[in-house]
Amino acid sequence: MRNFRKIKISKTVAFCGLAIALMSSCTKSEDSAGYEYTPDMYRSPAIETYVDYGMIKDRMVDSLTKVQSARLPVEGTIPFHSDPSSAAIAMPYALKDPIKDYDAADSLVSPIQVSQENIDEGKRIYSFMCVHCHGEEGKGNGAVVEKAGHAAPGAYDGALKDLSVGKMFHTLTHGKGMMGSHASQLTKKERWQVIQYVQVLQHGGTHPAMEEAVSDTVQTEEVVMPVEPTGGEAVNEEGH
């Protein structure tokens, strides 16, 4: 009888333990995304972007974790462009030293044509890549400067008014002073497009090269100009 009771008690304890284990297995941890059908499809053994793939069959392989899976292109390779006009952009940037080559960059010329299209694209890129430091009008008063206390960049209509395009490109590529390199965020073409828009900011609203073009068109197409503001939809219809 005594033994019988003992067994009963240990059984009860075992049952309770099991119940607790079951219940705890049902609660959701903060770092668990929840129930998954095909979990090996969510955490796949194959290499996926931004996934730590050190886990192979539930076993952590330390030599695989914390290794950069995104690889840089082989040194000296250049991207292929079917358009020959892009070749100049595809070539690697020769001036490698951020500080020593800064003055040498002064003589660089943009490989892309100044056009309204490029300026518009530059403006669009400026609106999400530059505006938070350099400010809407390029006065160096973006929110990161004003509110977060970042070192203030010079104003495009002030200290940086006469900054050459080459130096701008060099700065965008390698960084200068407190500004870091933006080469990982912007392609070379995008950098040159932003620079076209910065030139617009430097010259109070119009690009110096476009200014001449505009004055040219005014001379030749004087009659057409007033129609343009209302002509936007008509162009669309024509395209249709």
Binding site: R2, G34, G158, G180
Partner: protein, 448 residues
């Protein structure tokens, strides 16, 4: 941690008074000949992009510079240094200039200022005190001031304790009974175990017991059903992150666009988790945060091998990636492309990710949250499920008219123009050509 929200308001008044007083007395004491107020404007226009009074930036911290030049016995050369450092170095007249030349590879730019202006600038620098960063009201939620999350495991412990207590009580009662049985002056008239007594009780109340059993079964079944419905639904998933990064601070308070950090969103399948160099674009200059001071930003610095004191990266310092936890994860058998949706389709980030600028870390928004936002397509199925994808493909129109020349959608435009019957079929009743009609419901669009 809970901050009193009133403190910043009172603090700002006290702070302003303090700054004014400090500037006033500072200008009286340390640099009598300079005008700190005039110096402030000069400093901001000419010096601030490279210098900070207290922090090492591109150039050294300027507070105490006057003293340092005086200590070297070259007070007068400071003016020459500011106006044209290169000339001073090459003149060879200043030992301190030679010393400073080796300090940093980036040379000090010549400044067009006169002696009086230099005095004003240094008066401002000497009087400068770091304005305390306060959490002001700017319409953004307060980051990381949420009270400690109530421990989700609390009830488990309570239950465990209750069960252990019950076991102890039963055990003691059993012991008690055994003692009573064995004692001479006590005769028990029944030899039933507790189990037998319980069984007997259950049998006598069999109606209630079976009713209770049915209720428990129903609850268990509905719970099972609910859990089954949650399979592969990840709404509200907000994993912990190695750094207490906050989208509220970056995107809402400091107005940084999503695309600045997630810069591959227009070019790639993946939107991109910013690499450490992108963090460092700002955090070389911003070395302390409002909420955790240098603690959390320091993690970026150590990941980059960056020394705050010298404003320099060192090869000798160990570097390493920041292992962020992935939030939005699609299974392998689904292909999704960000650039197709953002660049080609022109879909706003909030359509799928919700109002990220109100989250701290990454979080999977729920479809209800997204539906509340202005300008989003209203959907019903849970976010990141296939139902949700195809529901949106069914109602979202494709602007083939605005397609870039000679692009894929331009080709579709041409073909539709040449085939009015198909165009009519595609436009259907709603009059829009939806993603579905252009193949957005084909299995192989996403599963291949």
């Amino acid at each position: 941690m809970k901050l009193d929200t009133r403190t910043p308001f009172i603090g700002s008044w006290a702070l302003q008074a303090l700054i004014i007083l400090t500037i006033f007395f500072g200008s009286l004491n340390s640099f009598a000949q300079g005008d700190a107020e005039a110096g402030e404007a000069l400093f901001k226009n000419n010096c601030a992009s490279c210098h900070h009074p207290l922090k090492r930036q591109t150039g050294p911290a300027l507070k105490g510079a006057v003293q340092r030049w005086a200590d070297a016995g070259e007070s007068e050369n400071l003016y020459r240094w500011v106006k044209n450092a290169g000339a001073l170095i090459s003149s060879g007249e200043s030992a301190r200039a030679k010393e400073l030349e080796s300090y940093d590879p980036s040379a000090m730019t010549p400044q067009a200022v006169n002696d009086q202006e230099i005095d004003n600038i240094f008066a401002y620098v000497e009087a400068f005190t770091e304005p305390e960063k306060v959490a002001g009201d700017d319409g953004c939620p307060t980051p990381y001031l949420i009270e400690e999350k109530e421990s989700s495991g609390k009830w488990k412990w309570l239950l465990a304790i209750a069960i252990i207590l019950a076991v102890v009580i039963f055990g003691l009662a059993g012991v008690n009974r055994r003692l009573k049985e064995t004692s001479d002056d006590f005769q028990t008239d029944d030899d039933h175990t507790y189990m037998e007594i319980t069984k007997d009780w259950l049998w006598r109340n069999k109606v209630w017991v079976s009713l209770f059993g049915v209720v428990v079964l129903l609850i268990a079944l509905s719970d099972l059903g609910w859990r089954a419905a949650q399979i592969d639904v990840v709404e509200g998933y907000e994993p912990s992150q190695p750094i207490k990064f906050s989208h509220i601070v970056h995107a809402c308070k400091h107005e940084i666009d999503c695309k600045y950090c997630h810069s591959s969103v227009e070019k790639s399948k993946s939107a991109g988790i910013p690499s450490v160099n992108i963090c460092m674009n700002c955090h070389r200059s911003i070395q302390e945060g409002t909420y955790f001071k240098g603690e959390e930003i320091g993690k970026i610095h150590s990941a980059a091998g960056y020394s705050v004191d010298d404003n320099a990266y060192y090869d000798s310092l160990s570097t390493g990636p920041i292992a962020w936890n992935k939030v939005h994860n699609l299974p392998d058998h689904v292909y999704f492309n960000h650039s197709q949706h953002v660049k080609v389709g022109g879909i706003d980030c909030i359509q799928c990710h919700g109002d990220v600028q109100t989250y701290n870390g990454g979080k999977v928004a729920s479809v209800e949250e997204i539906n509340k936002l202005e300008g989003t397509t209203k959907l019903t199925k849970p976010v990141l499920t296939m139902g949700w994808c195809i529901e949106c493909h069914n109602v979202t129109g494709v602007n083939v008219l605005g397609a870039e020349k000679d692009s894929y959608y331009d080709e579709i435009h041409k073909r539709l123009k040449n085939n009015p019957e198909l165009l009519k079929k595609f436009k259907g009743e709603d009059g829009t050509i939806t993603v579905k009609e252009l193949g957005g419901w084909e299995c192989a669009k996403c599963h291949y």
